[in-house]
């Protein structure tokens, strides 16, 4: 089977800092891939590359068997109708109602009837438990409600590929697990391929077919939930046991760091 997402030897720099270091990941059709890793490990950066928002310094990324690095702006725009994206802190447009925000991709990319679009918006609001909120402005929603509205917008087109950056961070446990359930349903009903960045271990273990663990821009491991849990790698165990990385302290270097002077 041709992977729907193929990340090959990707290297990325921001300025002179290397952020992703020879990352390789293949994701199969209908697979739910969870990306985990400490803060700053490069998860969001990887996601931004996957959707063509940023170009790689080296390596390549293929989505649905097309190299997104070689797509023109126009091709990318056409391609975007197949992608759903829920960003970390995914913002809605403050000048539009919640319903208009969620409908936006349909307006931009389809010729559906108004009535069809309105029903689709309400169906999605139902499944994220925001029924009846379509006429409110984003400023009238809570943080967790905004997140769910952003998720509804990401899936309004029933995209072939869905990318979510911490969709359930900050949600209460009940809402968070109903979002997990929805992610599973989207995959089962529509055979969606889904990439989810998350810090929530419970959620990751519940939804993941496989987990990619990133550390300082490198892939530590890719494997099933059981494989990752059984890993003896210390950094992975630190992550699973929520231990902070132990840094080996060189007193001289530490002093120099604090004073901003080199030794």
């Amino acid at each position: 089977m041709i992977p729907v997402i193929e990340v090959k030897d990707v290297v990325t720099h921001y300025g002179s800092r290397k952020i992703l270091n020879h990352v390789n990941v293949d994701i199969q059709p209908g697979e739910i891939m969870v990306v985990m890793g400490g803060s700053g490990s490069g998860k969001s950066t990887l996601l931004r590359h996957l959707i063509g928002l940023e170009r790689v310094s080296a390596g390549s990324i293929r989505l649905l068997d097309q190299d997104i690095g070689h797509m023109s702006h126009h091709e990318l725009t056409r391609f975007y109708r197949k992608l759903g994206v829920a960003f970390q802190g995914g913002a809605l447009f403050s000048s539009m109602t919640v319903g208009e925000n969620i409908m936006l991709p349909l307006r931009e990319h389809t010729n559906l009837d108004e009535k069809t679009m309105a029903i689709m918006v309400r169906m999605k609001l139902e499944v994220v438990n925001l029924a009846g909120f379509e006429h409110l402005m984003p400023s009238e929603l809570s943080g967790g409600m905004l997140k769910r509205a952003a998720f509804a917008r990401a899936v309004i087109m029933d995209p072939a590929l869905l990318f979510c950056d911490e969709p359930s961070a900050g949600l209460d446990p009940v809402v968070s697990s109903s979002l997990d359930e929805l992610i599973l349903q989207l995959r089962d009903a529509l055979n969606m391929t889904i990439v989810v960045v998350t810090h929530e271990l419970d959620s990751a273990f519940r939804i993941a077919d496989r987990i990619t663990v990133l550390d300082k821009g490198e892939v530590l491991t890719i494997g099933s939930v059981d494989q990752v849990r059984a890993s003896t790698h210390t950094r992975i165990q630190d992550l699973l046991n929520r231990r902070f990385e132990e840094t080996i302290l060189d007193p001289d270097e530490y002093l120099a760091r604090l004073t901003g002077e080199s030794i």
Partner: protein
């Protein structure tokens, strides 16, 4: 997507097959709304549908609501997981009348 309409003594049968998606659901919608206008009983046969997205479901919802208003019986026929799962996800599996086969549907009272 292919679709066809058959008129039978006990109702109109609208059959769809293949994939109902953003591209072709407007055609499905037009046909459904049209049939609901003049039929007294509509059987929507989705047995051969291999994929249906939310725009297809939305079209069914609109046609069903229209049918209810004018006392037209509106019945879905499907065993296809592709259809049933999407209906389930939208919590519509309990809203529509769904039968496994056309024979079942025709023998049931609506």
């Amino acid at each position: 997507m292919e679709h066809s309409v058959h008129v039978q003594p006990n109702g109109h049968i609208v059959s769809f097959s293949g994939e109902i998606d953003l591209e072709n659901s407007p055609a499905a919608r037009t046909r459904l709304l049209e049939v609901v206008e003049y039929a007294t009983t509509v059987f929507v046969d989705l047995t051969a549908v291999t994929y249906m997205d939310s725009s297809g479901i939305a079209s069914l919802v609109e046609a069903y609501q229209r049918a209810k208003k004018t006392n037209v019986a509106f019945v879905l026929i499907s065993t296809s997981p592709a259809v049933l799962r999407v209906l389930q996800m939208a919590r519509l599996d309990k809203v529509f009348t769904i039968h496994e086969t056309l024979e079942h549907a025709q023998h049931a009272k609506h």
